[in-house]
C-alpha cells in the first residue's frame, strides 16, 4: 500500500451499483475529487437494502479512512441517525438524488451536522411533467393522458403519482386523465402494462412515464399496436436512449436527470466543507443542473445534449 492511499478520501454510498445511473453518480464524485484534491474514492453498493447501507456507513466511519461521505440514501429517514454520528466524527456528509431525514420531499438539511444535499423533489417533477402533458394536449380534444408511475410502493413515487393526479384535476377540460399504473422501472413490465392499457383505451394521446426503462417497454407496446407517432411520449430520465428517441422525434420530450452532475455537485460541497471552505450552496435542486429550461429536453435541443447515463 502506498502512502497516498492512506490519506483520508471520499466514500460514495449508492443504492445499487449495478446500473449506469449509479455509475454516473460515482463518476461525478470521482471527477470532483480529482479536480479539488478530495483523495481516493471508495464506492459502497447498498444493494437496495437499507439495513445494509446503514452497516456500510458505520463500517466506513470505523475504518477512519474518510473525511467526506456522498450518499444516495435507500431509506432517507433511516440513514439520518447514523449519518449524524458520522458528522460528529467530522465527516462532511452530502446526500444526493434524494434527501436524508424525516421529510424526504424537501430538499434541505435535515439532520445535525449535514453538509449538503443535491436532489430533486418528486412532487415538483411530477407537476412539471403534468404541465408538459397539458401543453402537449393543446390542440387535441378530448386528449387522453395515461401516467406510467414507477413503483407505488416507494413513498417518493407515491408522492409523484398523487401530485400528477392533482395537477390533472386542475387541467383544462380537454385533458382527460385516464389513470395510472406502475411500470416498476422494468422494460417488460412497462410493455405489458401499456399493452393492457391500450386494450382499454386505444385512443390515448399522451403517455407520461416516470422512468426511461419502462418507457422503452411501453413504446414497444405502442409500436406493436400500430400507434407509433400517434401517442406523444414524455419520459423522466434523460438517458442516452431517451435522448435518441427525442432527437428522432419518436418521443416528445425527456425530463432530464443528471446523475454525473448530481454526483459532482454533491462531492464538491462535501470536499469543500471537509477542507474548511464554504461551498456556494448547501442545498441544490437537481433540476437546476439540467441545461434546459424546466429540465425538459425536446427535439430542438436534443442534438447538442450529451446524456449522462444509459437506461
Amino acid at each position: 500500500a502506498d502512502t497516498g492511499s492512506d490519506a483520508p478520501g471520499i466514500a460514495v454510498f449508492l443504492s445499487t451499483s449495478a446500473n449506469s445511473y449509479e455509475q454516473a453518480q460515482a463518476d461525478g464524485v470521482k471527477a470532483a475529487a480529482k479536480k479539488l484534491g478530495g483523495g481516493k474514492v471508495q464506492v459502497f453498493d447498498g444493494g437496495f437494502d437499507s439495513t445494509k447501507q446503514i452497516g456500510q456507513i458505520q463500517d466506513a466511519v470505523t475504518s477512519g479512512r474518510f473525511k467526506a461521505f456522498v450518499i444516495e440514501p435507500i431509506d432517507g429517514a433511516a440513514v439520518a441517525a447514523p449519518l449524524s454520528r458520522a458528522a460528529d466524527q467530522d465527516i462532511a456528509v452530502v446526500c444526493i438524488t434524494s434527501a436524508c431525514g424525516p421529510d424526504t420531499t424537501k430538499i434541505d438539511l435535515q439532520f445535525p451536522g449535514q453538509a449538503g444535499v443535491v436532489g430533486s423533489d418528486y412532487q415538483k417533477t411530477a407537476a412539471a411533467m403534468a404541465q408538459h402533458a397539458v401543453d402537449a394536449c393543446a390542440d387535441v380534444d378530448p386528449c387522453k393522458v395515461f401516467y406510467l408511475n414507477g413503483d407505488s410502493t416507494f413513498p417518493s413515487d407515491r408522492l409523484a403519482k398523487d401530485a400528477f393526479a392533482a395537477a390533472m384535476k386542475a387541467a383544462p377540460a380537454n385533458v382527460d386523465y385516464v389513470g395510472s399504473q406502475d411500470g416498476k422501472y422494468d422494460t417488460a413490465t412497462g410493455r405489458s402494462v401499456m399493452e393492457s392499457e391500450l386494450q382499454r383505451n386505444a385512443d390515448i394521446a399522451v403517455l407520461v412515464s416516470l422512468a426511461d426503462q419502462q418507457t422503452l417497454g411501453a413504446a414497444q407496446a405502442i409500436d406493436g399496436a400500430g400507434r407509433t407517432g400517434k401517442i406523444k411520449i414524455i419520459s423522466f430520465g434523460g438517458s442516452k436512449q431517451a435522448v435518441e428517441k427525442v432527437a428522432s422525434g419518436e418521443w416528445l420530450g425527456a425530463q432530464l436527470t443528471m446523475p454525473f452532475s448530481i454526483g459532482q455537485t454533491g462531492a464538491e460541497i462535501a470536499i469543500k466543507t471537509a477542507q474548511g471552505k464554504a461551498p456556494e450552496h448547501k442545498a441544490v435542486d437537481a433540476t437546476t443542473l439540467a441545461p434546459v429550461e424546466g429540465g425538459l429536453l425536446t427535439a430542438n435541443d436534443a442534438s447538442g445534449f450529451e446524456a449522462q447515463w444509459t437506461s
Binding site: 449495478a18 446500473n19 449509479e22 410502493t153 422501472y185 405489458s192 422503452l216 436512449q241
Partner: protein
C-alpha cells in the same frame, strides 16, 4: 430429511389438478365478464407474450424441482446470458453467433450448479444463491455497471420477430413448454427425474446415475433462463447486470401454485403452467380493470390464497 407424507391416490391426483384448473377457469370467466378488452384475441396474445419469460423459466424450474433440486440462480443466469450475448455481439460482430452462445450459456452455468450440488454436496438452496452471486458478479465485471447496447438489426431481430400475430418469445415459450412437458411425461429421462426427486436413495439403488440426472435437471433450468435472458436482451437491443425482477421467485411461486411439490418427485409441466396462468390473469385483470395499485397487493394475496385453497379443498373432499 422428512419422510414424504403418504402420496395421494390416483383419482385424488386428478382432482388436485382439477382444483387449480378450477381456480384458473374461475378467474378467466370472472375477467371475461368484467372486462370487454380481456376477451379480445389481441389481449390473449399479449398475455402469452408478456408471460413468455416467466413461462419458459417456470418450465425449467419444474424440471429442476421435480428432480429434487432447487434453482435460485435463474435471475442471475437470465442477466448473465443477456450480457454475454450483447458483449459478444459488440465484440465479435456476429450477432447470430452471439445470440446462440448466449442462449446455450445457461446449459454450462446450470451444469456448474449441478456439480456444486452433486459432487460438491452443497445444499441446493445455498449452492444456487452462491452461484447466482458469482454469475451476477461476472455480469457486472463484463458490463462494468453500465448498459451494453447493441446497434444493428442483427441482434434485435430475434426478439422482435413475429409470426403473424405471435411474437417469437411467445412461440419459443410454447415450443419449450411442449418439449419439456413431453420430456417429463414421456421419456426415459423424465422417468429418472421423477425417481431421483421422489426417492434419491431408491433411485441410486436402482442403478440410476443420480448425479448425472440432477446435473441434467440444473442444466435444463439454466438453459430456460438463458433462453429467456437472450430473448429479452435481443428485444431490448441491450443488456445489463442490473436485475430488479424476481424471476426465480415468480417462477417458483407459479410452479408451486400449480401444485408442484417443492420436495421433488411430483408435478407436471401443465400444472406449472396453470400456476403461471393464474398469476398472468391476476396481473392482466389488475391492468385492464385499472385497479388502484394500493389495493392490488391485498387483492393479489387474497386471490392466490383462494386459488390454492380451492385446490387444497378439492384434494380433501376427494378423500
Amino acid at each position: 430429511m422428512t419422510t414424504p407424507t403418504l402420496p395421494a391416490p390416483r383419482s385424488l391426483a386428478l382432482a388436485r389438478d382439477y382444483g387449480v384448473v378450477l381456480s384458473a377457469v374461475g378467474l378467466f370467466i370472472a375477467l371475461a365478464i368484467a372486462s370487454a378488452p380481456f376477451r379480445t384475441g389481441t389481449n390473449q396474445l399479449n398475455l402469452l407474450d408478456q408471460w413468455s419469460t416467466i413461462g419458459i423459466i417456470a418450465c425449467g424450474s419444474t424440471i429442476c424441482i421435480v428432480a429434487g433440486g432447487f434453482d435460485l440462480s435463474v435471475d442471475a443466469i437470465f442477466a448473465l446470458s443477456g450480457v454475454l450475448a450483447a458483449w459478444l455481439a459488440v465484440h465479435l460482430g456476429d450477432p447470430t453467433l452471439a445470440l446462440l452462445v448466449g442462449m446455450l450459456s445457461g446449459l454450462v452455468l446450470g451444469v456448474f450448479n449441478g456439480l456444486l450440488v452433486t459432487v460438491g454436496r452443497i445444499n441446493p438452496f445455498v449452492a444456487t444463491i452462491a452461484s447466482s452471486v458469482v454469475f451476477l458478479g461476472i455480469a457486472q465485471l463484463i458490463t462494468r455497471g453500465s448498459v451494453l447496447s447493441v446497434a444493428g438489426q442483427g441482434f434485435s431481430r430475434l426478439g422482435l420477430q413475429r409470426f403473424g400475430d405471435l411474437t417469437l418469445p411467445a412461440v419459443v415459450f410454447v415450443v419449450f413448454a411442449v418439449l419439456t412437458a413431453v420430456l417429463l411425461a414421456r421419456t426415459v429421462v423424465g422417468r429418472r427425474l421423477y425417481a431421483v426427486g421422489g426417492n434419491y436413495e431408491a433411485a441410486r439403488y436402482s442403478g440410476i446415475a443420480v448425479n448425472r440426472v440432477q446435473v441434467f435437471a440444473y442444466a435444463v433450468s439454466g438453459l430456460s433462463a438463458s433462453i429467456a435472458g437472450v430473448l429479452a436482451a435481443s428485444r431490448n437491443s441491450s443488456a445489463s447486470a442490473d436485475i430488479r425482477t424476481d424471476l426465480a421467485f415468480q417462477a417458483i411461486t407459479a410452479v408451486v401454485i400449480g401444485g408442484v411439490s417443492i420436495y421433488g418427485g411430483a408435478g407436471t409441466i401443465p400444472r406449472a403452467l396453470v400456476g403461471v396462468l393464474i398469476l398472468a390473469l391476476i396481473g392482466n385483470g389488475f391492468n385492464l380493470l385499472a385497479v388502484d395499485p394500493a389495493y392490488q397487493q391485498v387483492l393479489l394475496g387474497i386471490i392466490i390464497v383462494l386459488a390454492v385453497a380451492v385446490d387444497a379443498w378439492a384434494r380433501r373432499t376427494q378423500k
